[in-house]
């Protein structure tokens, strides 16, 4: 019913993942990051350079003319797809704003998104062109999404961005592709958005869960070179299922033996005592957990209880980064000590990061629009809007100007450094070769001090292996 749908949980942490790519494209990744690296170095070093300048310059280094171009001939209305957009760009979106736990998890995304659009307008990022965004509510119910999208198309929306939820995006994907309307930054991690050939107008923002699980598998192999026994714990929905499926596929490669698998229903409000009891009985080396939203907290508590009951068992806990916000981990207290997770965005709640210019700017802006209370969880919305606007800027600079076709072309030939990304993180899409907004992940470990405050420490370097 009303609860945080799996994919939604990702938003809480605002982590944007990188898509898996074919391995033979690694050569590309060495060139692109260096540009971004220097740009980011500059930002960090001087502390003055606005990230927006970086966003402006980086795309220009990518040739827009060459590269993947969408075929507008098969559109229902090819002229509309190539018509120039003037005056105002109307952005539409559909998010769960009410109706239970999903709304709880995602409503801040709307706030962050709208805040960034206002920021972009205030700063005149698109010159004379103004941005207008309307976000409709579908209560995370896929029955209502087509209606919301249709209503916005009637109202003259030019592009869609940041629709939340896998079934929700699926429900409108055909309509938007048939009518050649860009469906950017689908906020779900389902692998379905990588289908460039059939659905060229739809792009995903969150990485398919396959990459995060691959990163963890690699880390586990490093921690346990002689092979590790892993128990899985996941929420029984699309999110959890795809996640562990990709983990299981990689198990052999990394010398991982999967000794147990426990599930929890998305609608179950009891703490997962029984599941953890089962896992504890197997005494695995590692627990790989993909719970949903608030279940993250009860999961961690149960594991802590079980560890106390079995003092000779010291498993490493790997937790999906959708749980990895200080908000959720903070509520777990000591139980969260020592867990592994990943990220590619800066934790805006961490006081150590408050001095960073992009963070300070973000927090100040959220405060000025009166949304400081949700600043921690609104980063996903902010970053999504930032990427959308960067795509628009690139499209505007292209020879065709700002048209729907040029926007999706820009989106698929795109390299960008998000302002709230960790140093070295870069979002990149490249036609059919790289259908996901790929970037790196760093594995981090969370430590809880005696006073209850938590800090993340990076383990190893930013992993860019999955970038193409």
């Amino acid at each position: 019913m009303k609860r945080t749908r799996g994919l939604a949980a990702v938003i809480a942490a605002g982590a944007l993942l990188v898509a898996a790519c074919s391995d033979d494209k690694t050569t590309d990744s060495t060139t692109a990051p260096s540009t971004a690296d220097t740009a980011v170095e500059t930002t960090v070093a001087t502390g003055e350079t606005t990230v927006e300048t970086v966003a402006d310059t980086t795309p220009v280094t990518e040739p827009v003319a060459a590269g993947w171009v969408v075929d507008t001939d098969i559109c229902v209305d090819a002229d509309a797809a190539n018509a120039p957009i003037e005056g105002t760009v109307k952005i539409g979106s559909v998010m769960p704003l009410s109706g239970g736990a999903a709304a709880a998890a995602f409503a801040p995304v709307k706030d962050g998104y709208e805040a960034y659009i206002k920021y972009a307008n205030d700063q005149g990022l698109l010159g004379d062109v103004k941005l207008e965004v309307t976000i409709e509510d579908d209560q995370y119910n896929a029955e209502l999404t087509p209606g919301a999208v249709a209503k916005q198309i009637d109202a003259g929306v030019n592009i869609f961005s940041g629709i939340i939820g896998s079934p929700n995006n699926l429900a409108v994907r055909d309509t938007l592709n048939d009518n050649c309307i860009p469906q950017l930054a689908a906020l779900t991690g389902s692998p379905a958005w990588g289908d460039v050939a059939d659905y060229p107008w739809t792009t995903g923002q969150l990485v398919p869960y396959s990459v995060e699980s691959a990163v963890y598998a690699a880390q586990i192999a490093e921690l346990y070179p002689d092979g590790a026994k892993v128990a899985l714990f996941h929420v029984n929905n699309e999110f959890g299922q795809y996640y562990v499926d990709s983990f299981k596929d990689l198990a052999d490669e990394y010398g991982i033996e999967i000794v147990g698998e426990e599930t929890v229903e998305a609608t179950d409000s009891n703490p997962p005592t029984a599941q953890i009891t089962n896992i504890a009985a197997l005494k695995p080396d590692v627990i790989m957990a993909v719970p949903l939203g608030a279940q993250c907290i009860s999961f961690l508590n149960e594991v802590a209880n079980a560890k106390a009951a079995n003092p000779d068992w010291t498993p490493a806990t790997f937790l999906t980064n959708t749980c990895a916000s200080s908000l959720i981990l903070g509520a777990s207290g000591q139980a969260a000590n020592g867990l592994y997770t990943s990220s590619n965005l800066i934790d805006v709640v961490d006081p150590a990061n408050a001095a960073l210019p992009s963070v300070a700017e973000y927090l100040a802006y959220m405060d000025s629009v009166g949304k400081a209370s949700v600043a921690a969880t609104a980063t996903a919305g902010w970053t999504t809007a930032e990427i959308t606007v960067a795509v628009l800027i690139q499209a505007q600079a292209s020879p065709e100007g700002l048209t729907r076709a040029s926007i999706i072309n820009a989106a698929r030939n795109f390299t960008f450094t998000p302002s709230l990304g960790l140093p070295g993180v870069e979002f990149k899409m490249n036609g059919e070769d790289d259908p996901f907004l790929a970037e790196s992940l760093v594995v981090r470990q969370y430590a809880v001090a005696a006073d209850g405050s938590g800090t993340f420490t990076d383990i190893g370097k930013l992993i860019t292996d999955f970038e193409s």
Partner: protein
């Protein structure tokens, strides 16, 4: 073997919460003959209040008693304003009213406290997690023979048993309890003997809601947070417990609750493919169905004789 006992212990702790909800249902049924579909939501409403009391700095035990007080007020107010006038029309109308109340209370919780789980530092909660009535740090447990018995869960079980004992005393040893039984048995005659039936009815609902409040607080404490969906499935398990034990037997409700908790946990543990986590509700469903078909009055209830 240790795993078996562990599963029983875990099941008993889930079952204690079911028992509390079932107790509330049974008291309402005994007192007024209705099934209160809003029992779970009343419990949730009080659990939210206890969170709020905690935010205002009140420690958990006093907050819990205050929460029970809130429950009492909500329950009695419901009976006086909503149930009594409607009961004259038909049981169906009462049912609809309780369904309406169910929806309304859930909406109200969201309206007042929002739909995030609480406590939540994002909305500025002072508490880190929902307070538990008993110490529940990871090391707060006994470990006999490898079975983890947590203080918190034992505490809850003891609380339920103490409450049952108190209720037993109330029903059987006090004048008020006697009037409750009289009204339940034959309200017309009870009125004739001078018992203030209206007051008894009101107090039944109030008491039931107060016990439900305890259930809500305990469940939220076990879960670590309170959220809008907390009591949906608990309500069904509680109803299964009340059905199993017999809708007019408080003792039966408690035993039913504990049994359902244990059965559900053993089934899901030992039949991971057939029951697992997905079909735990299926167990409750089958229990309800089986009992209603085979022995509708439950294990300890009295059979109802209907005048045609």
């Amino acid at each position: 073997m240790a795993l078996f006992f562990q599963r029983i212990v875990d099941g008993l702790s889930y079952g204690s919460v079911y028992a509390l909800i079932a107790l509330g249902l049974v008291i309402v049924y005994r007192g007024t003959g209705h099934l209160n579909f809003a029992q779970g939501e009343m419990a949730l409403f009080c659990a939210y209040f206890v969170y709020q009391f905690g935010e205002w700095g009140i420690p958990i035990w006093p907050a819990m008693f205050l929460g029970m007080g809130v429950g009492f007020v909500v329950g009695s107010a419901t009976e006086v304003t909503l149930i009594r006038p409607i009961a004259k029309r038909s049981p169906f109308a009462v049912f609809i009213v309780t369904i309406g109340l169910f929806t309304f209370l859930n909406w109200l919780d969201g309206a007042i406290w929002g739909n995030q789980q609480l406590p939540n530092s994002g909305v500025g909660s002072k508490q880190l997690k929902y307070p538990s009535l008993f110490p529940n740090d990871p090391q707060d447990q006994w470990l006999p023979f490898g079975v983890s018995i947590r203080y918190e869960r034992v505490g809850i079980l003891v609380l339920v048993l103490v409450l049952t004992g108190l209720l037993f005393l109330l029903f059987n040893k006090t004048k008020f309890g006697l009037s409750m039984r009289a009204v339940a048995s034959n309200s017309e005659s009870a009125k004739l003997t001078g018992i203030r039936t209206n007051r008894v009815l009101m107090m039944s609902w109030g008491l039931a809601a107060a016990i439900g409040a305890l259930g809500g607080v305990v469940q939220a404490g076990l879960n670590g947070n309170v959220n809008l969906g907390l009591m949906f499935t608990v309500f069904i398990y509680g109803s299964a417990a009340a059905t199993l034990g017999g809708f007019d037997s408080p003792g039966g409700a408690v035993i039913g609750g504990l049994m359902i908790g244990v059965i559900e946990n053993l089934a899901s543990g030992y039949l991971p493919k057939w029951v697992g986590q997905e079909m735990k509700l299926g167990v409750a469903f089958i229990v309800i169905l089986a009992v209603l078909l085979a022995k509708p009055s439950g294990l300890f209830g009295t059979a109802k004789v209907e005048r045609v």
